[in-house]
């Protein structure tokens, strides 16, 4: 950084970008990209002071809705630098409306502060102003009684010599305001400047209309030194801009955007914390449920043990099934053998019975002697039985017929057989019973094992434990998932670099103008102290701007601030501030204050108690010594004005008359 003569710092744009890159720990290309993305432009050039003054104002219209109906007309021409006064003997005679029309034209914003009834009356408005040597005119044409700005026509014209150019021709509204803003940006070298608005959480540009409000002190209760807008640190920004400090717009743009990003990051962090908190709450809930389920499961059958038992029982079932399959044929064979033996025994017993019956029948039959031949049925002679030996049959003569008890022997034999068979049957029955018992025992075991398997399967699948176990698996998965998920991204990566670059740009640009700002502010404050005292503010000891651009005032050994001053004092200090900024600007050769100040009602009740004449004289003196400064004052006419403001610089109505 090389200092220019007079302590004015100088730094090249390249060097500044490099410094930003170094501070932001980024490369220059990144710095350029970020600055471009956020419209942060390096503004190292000291601006040349320009002047703006109102040259004329006129309007026509038709009054309606009041006691004094009829056409209205107002015209005030040939204004220039110096003190100009718009006077009436009484209040409410149209001064504020004239000043409001001036302001609307300069801001490009109709109807602006123009009262609604007056706006309705108007049909033609012409305001001419001059920037340095170039004149401009704003001409509005509308139907009297028309409220809508869309139905009004406005023309913005530039005059250079005999040449006139229409810069804009169309309806009132945003387009026109943009054109006026663009005109002043170009002509006065005033770029819209960025400020961070905490309410909307973003950096936004302040257009010419906002800047111009600092030139029109038309609200008696204004508490700001510059402008009527207290938001977005606008007074400080206006002061810096009017002082014409280099790099200020760079600084304000970088800082405003950095603040916006910080706010965004803070929001993201807050969201992240909320999300983190929600996640923690959810995790706590899940872990609590996990604990409950695990406790519950401890009181339920051990499912691992159940599965082991299931496998064991499966194997047992297989084994028992083999036993069943093996026991069945054994049992059947034994049963068959037993049945066969029983059948054989039964047969033998049947045989025995038949034999016994036959023997018994034979026993009784043999006692009878045949009486006839079975073949021919011829009677048998009884002597025949006596002539035959007992060893032969009486009828057929068969030798040695079977003894009468021959059946007995066979019966005994069969009975022995039966006894033996019955023992065999008994044995086989026992064997069959054993085999059957084995078989049934295997069947029973199989049934029991099957039943056990069924109940284990039921315990494993359908019971509370199964449901809990499934829930537990789900809960563990969710816990794992929640614990694995990283903290919500805070858009950190996305904005980190931008923020670093913008913060570095804000710091680097501020460093360039900071010292200059301090020295200029000291000069401005000194002049303000001088002028304020001259304008009638009593007991002033010192004035000083703090780091935030706030004016600290020592008055009667007491520390106070601008906002705490009495309304009349504020008016004087405000005039002093504008004159001081312009005065310093004229001394240093740089600055942006266009040297226009429009005051409304300084002679109102609160001002009059002070020495108004003295004030006006001092203001007049100051204005006279400040090149290219125009001050237009609207006030109730007082004799003091007549001495201070020359007649050609006054527009005055007397008595109850209206200005229009």
């Amino acid at each position: 950084m090389n200092d220019l003569p007079g302590g004015i710092p100088s730094v090249s744009i390249t060097a500044w970008r490099q410094a930003v890159a170094t501070r932001a720990n980024a490369d220059v290309a990144t710095v350029e990209r970020v600055l471009r993305a956020y419209s942060v432009e390096a503004a190292p050039v000291l601006p040349r002071p320009r002047t703006l003054c109102i040259r004329s104002i006129s309007f026509l219209g038709q009054k309606s809705g009041t006691q004094s109906k009829g056409a209205i007309a107002f015209e005030w021409n040939d204004l220039g630098s110096g003190v100009w006064a718009l006077l009436s003997d009484r209040n409410l005679r149209g001064k504020s409306s004239v000043l409001a029309i001036m302001r609307a034209a300069v801001q490009g914003r109709f109807p602006g502060e123009i009262k609604p009834d007056v706006w309705l009356w108007l049909s033609t408005v012409n305001v001419e102003f001059q920037i340095d040597q170039t004149r401009y005119r704003v001409s509005v044409l509308k139907n009297s009684g028309e409220k809508s700005i869309e139905k009004s026509i406005v023309r913005l014209s530039r005059f250079q010599g005999d040449l006139s150019v229409d810069l804009y021709s169309g309806s009132l509204g945003d387009d026109f305001e943009q054109h006026v803003s663009s005109l002043f940006a170009t002509e006065l070298g005033i770029q819209p400047f960025f400020a961070y608005n905490s309410r909307i959480g973003a950096a936004h540009p302040h257009e010419w209309a906002a800047i111009a409000s600092a030139l029109f002190l038309i609200h008696p209760d204004q508490k700001m030194i510059f402008g009527d807008n207290v938001v977005d640190a606008l007074p400080l920004r206006l002061l810096q801009m009017f002082m014409g400090l280099p790099w200020v717009s760079t600084h304000t743009a970088a800082q405003a955007n950095a603040k916006a990003i910080e706010a965004k990051l803070e929001q993201a962090r807050s969201d992240g914390r909320r999300s983190l908190n929600q996640r923690k709450v959810r995790l706590d809930q899940l872990k609590e449920r996990e604990g409950q389920i695990e406790d519950g499961l401890q009181h339920l059958p051990d499912r691992v043990e159940l599965r082991r038992m299931m496998a064991e029982k499966d194997a047992e079932l297989l084994s028992v099934q083999e036993e069943v399959l093996a026991a069945l044929p054994v049992s059947e064979a034994a049963a068959n053998a037993s049945r066969e033996a029983e059948r054989a025994t039964l047969e033998r017993r049947r045989e025995l019975l038949q034999l016994e019956h036959d023997v018994a029948a034979g026993y009784v039959f043999r006692k009878l002697r045949p009486v006839c031949c079975p073949a021919c049925e011829a009677d048998i002679d009884g002597a025949r039985f006596k002539s035959r030996p007992q060893s032969t049959c009486t009828l057929c003569g068969t030798e040695a017929p079977p003894p009468e008890d021959s059946g007995e022997e066979e019966i005994s034999e069969i009975r022995r057989d039966i006894k033996e068979a019955e023992r065999t049957v008994e044995d086989l029955r026992r064997q069959a019973k054993r085999a059957r018992d084995n078989y049934h025992s295997a069947i029973e075991r199989r049934t029991r094992v099957s039943e056990e398997i069924r109940s284990i399967a039921q315990a494993l699948s359908g019971d509370e434990g199964g449901i809990l176990e499934k829930e537990l698996i789900g809960i563990k998965a969710r816990i794992e998932e929640l614990e694995l998920v990283p903290e919500p991204e805070r858009e950190k990566i996305e904005y980190e670099v931008d923020l670093r670059v913008l913060a570095a740009a804000a710091v680097e640009s501020k460093e360039v103008f900071d010292e200059l700002q301090r020295s200029v502010l000291v000069k401005v404050a000194a002049k303000m102290l001088e002028y304020s005292s001259a304008f009638g503010v009593q007991n002033l000891e010192s004035m000083e701007f703090d780091q935030g651009g706030k004016l600290k005032i020592k008055q009667g050994s007491a520390q106070t601030f601008f906002g705490s001053l009495a309304p009349g004092e504020r008016l004087r200090v405000r005039i002093a501030a504008a004159l001081a900024v312009v005065g310093v600007s004229r001394e240093t050769g740089y600055g942006r204050h266009p040297g226009l100040l429009v005051l409304d009602a300084p002679g109102a009740q609160e001002v009059v108690q002070y020495d108004l004449e003295k004030m006006l004289a001092a203001v007049s003196d100051t204005v006279a010594s400040t090149d290219g400064f125009q001050i237009i004052i609207g006030a109730v006419a007082r004799p003091e004005f007549l001495d201070v403001v020359p007649a050609e610089c006054r527009k005055q109505v007397t008595g109850d008359s209206y200005l229009f």
Partner: protein, 214 residues
Amino acid sequence: MPGDKSGYHFRDALRLLFILTQGSASMVAPDTARGFDHVFEGEKRAMALDFLIRYPDYLANDLLELYELEGDPQLLDAVGTIFRDGEPDLRVIYMVRWSFGAFEPLETAVAILEARGLVRAVKVNIGGQDRHDFLVGPGAREFLERAVREQPQLAWYEKQVALALRVWGKSSGSAVKGAQYEHPEYRNTPRGSVIPSIKDRVLERFERLEGAAR
């Protein structure tokens, strides 16, 4: 069963004598000279009744039929005795089915009875058809009394014949045999094969009726 030993001639003759004696009716003109005062009508009837003595399960079934008609508890008791004593297994004397059903010639038994003057087979012509009847008299009745007295086990035949006659009385041989043909086991037995038992089926019927009677 087919293994049934033939040759229990006295037993067969005695069984037949019980049938002929108990199933006979008084003769209009007794043969006092030969001592016959009752006549048993029809060889076919004798054979049909003999089948019931040889197959106690078939007899049991006929008794149950009658029980269902009459409701006489003694009939049910008689069936109970048949099953309780295992008669269908122990007392059965199997028969082979021939063209006209169960058949076994009676000649040997009749010869034994005739030779001893207990029975006299006669042929009568009824409506142009020959019928073999059997004449019995006091000799036969006294003989059976003595036989039962001396050999009490033979009383079973007397009891059994009485039961068969309780059911069938004086019904013709065709009627009795026709009833036997009603049993599918009997009817469907191939010729030359032993007629099977119907014990299980009749036992089941008996148990059901006995259960209902309690």
